[in-house]
Amino acid sequence: MITAGVDMGAQSVKVVILGDGKVLARSLVPTGFEPLEAAKTALDEAIKSAGVSRDDVKRVVATGAGRKSATFADSSLTEVTADAKGVNWLQPSVRTIVDIGAEEARGISCDAQGKVLDFAKNDKCAAGSGAFVESMARALEIKVPEMIELSLKSTKDAPINATCAVFAESEVVSLIHSKVEKADIAHAVHDAIASRVASMVRRIPVENDVALIGGVANNAAIVDVMKKHLEVDVVIPENPQFVSALGAALSAAA
């Protein structure tokens, strides 16, 4: 059976097409102003690159912040469940999942079957999300990939206390003024967000194996500091940004 999972994220829509236990295709389209259009486009793209037709796709399950508006989907699933399903399929040994997306971070604890045991989420504040990283990169006047690279070269700790992304931006600016190395500032930024996320994730039991997913899992600098803050080793499943979509596709197949 062929199914599709559509993750309607705050920043981008991710689609995974699954056929008989194999990922046939993925696609990613920025959410933009018209999430529904973006989702349809993403779905079409994925179907096309899977080399199948829309009718071949038996069930479509939507997840993500915009899931309720997914008129094209057969049903919907919260990100929490989707994450657990997706990770469990990829790496059944995982008991703790950390998902950092553009505007939200989640910690999920699950069992060997991928059943959610407990979860925690951050509140309505950008601290501890991909958006925080992006706005700090803007303050440093560099691109995110560059900031990651710099961060990994850092040798000294620098403090960023503010949780508010806007105030943190001015802390970054004053660090620049006091001639702190850009690499160390970049590191401080990643450290700050990892600390917020770790603090939230700790509300659930953190047990091995711990997986980091979501778009921000692509950020090597975050991965690095997350390990330090959670005091555990972290595994990154392949294509971490697509795990929620995968979970949705799996639930469609079930």
């Binding site: 705050a10 959410t31 102003f33 018209e34 999430p35 529904l36 912040a65 508006s69 505007e103 309505k124 504040c125 950008a126 999300s129 958006a131 925080f132 706005s135 006047e141 503010a162 949780t163 508010c164 992304a165 806007v166 105030f167 001015s170 600016v173 620049i176 003024h177």
Partner: protein
């Protein structure tokens, strides 16, 4: 070619009737804020010229740039200025300033100068701070309150919104008033999340104007919360960049029970720099004594 909607117009102004060479005292105040920088030159007790520009990535350059633009075409050279006071978020990093004074004191003093000695309460809404200030008849601060921890309801947020909706920031206020009825305020004024909230609203069929109205009114509400904590004594006035956003100011005044705000001429956004220049003059005169 992309338009930068968040950019407000930068400008300079000069009083053609004043001959600065005849002035006994010639001083300047420079306000380097988190978003904008202003320089004001005072010839005796009159504003001779000023400039309002965007803050760059570092304070010294922003200060130089603001002052440079203000002085352009006036014939004043840096060394002609007898005293310079710096204020604002970058105040300690202004090379030509002999003294740094906080923006709180400066806004009060500037508002007192521009709006008259009857002003008792000042609301300063800037790039990332909200301040409620009480002052006496000489413009001396008697009490103040500032937001902390969260920048919701500040100028940066409005810029993000302007950019997102692709509406020039200078038009935001007017447009937000042009709605059939006042919508519910948005629930999150978080600068970072404003974006997804707005997208959600647009998606559910709201017009840009309505989204702006909802955002302006949420912002006004936050501000009123702060003002209520410090209390309002009349006369009341508003300084800082957001004072130019009628969408926010009119809603604040309405929520405060229809009180009036004393208009500040020539420009409410330069209140901090005006205050700084007045302090510069005081200090100069004091040093001569």
């Amino acid at each position: 070619m992309t338009t930068e909607y968040f950019r407000w117009t930068e400008y300079t102004w000069k009083d053609p009737d004043i001959d600065w060479r005849k002035a006994d005292t010639l001083v300047a105040g420079i306000d380097v804020g988190s978003v904008s920088s202003q320089a004001v030159v005072l010839a005796d007790d009159k504003i001779y010229c000023y400039c309002n520009t965007r803050t760059g990535s570092n304070s010294p350059d922003s200060a130089k740039n603001a002052l440079g633009q203000a002085l352009e075409g006036t014939g004043i050279k840096d060394e002609d200025l007898q005293f310079v006071v710096g204020t604002g978020y970058g105040r300690v990093n202004i090379p030509m300033a002999k003294k740094a004074i906080t923006e709180i004191a400066c806004h009060a003093r500037g508002a007192n100068y521009m709006g008259g000695p009857t002003i008792r309460t000042i609301l300063d809404m800037g790039g990332q701070d909200l301040k409620g200030i009480h002052c006496d008849e000489r413009g001396k601060v008697t009490q103040f309150l500032m937001n902390d921890k969260c920048a919701a309801g500040t100028g940066r947020g409005m810029e993000v919104m302007a950019e997102l909706l692709q509406v020039p920031i200078v038009d935001v206020g007017q447009m937000s008033l042009d709605v059939p009825e006042e919508p519910e305020p948005v629930s999150s004024t978080c600068v970072i999340f404003a974006k997804s909230e707005a997208i959600g609203l647009l998606r559910s069929g709201w017009t840009k104007n309505m989204v702006l109205a909802a955002y302006c009114s949420a912002m006004a509400h936050r501000v009123v919360g702060l003002l209520e904590r410090i209390g309002i004594e009349k006369e009341f006035t508003i300084t800082g960049g957001i004072s130019k956003n009628v969408g926010v100011t009119s809603r604040i005044l309405k929520e405060l029970g229809g009180i009036e705000a004393v208009p500040l001429a020539p420009d409410a956004q330069i209140a901090g720099a005006v205050g700084a220049s007045l302090f510069a003059r005081d200090l100069l005169l004091k040093s001569r004594r």
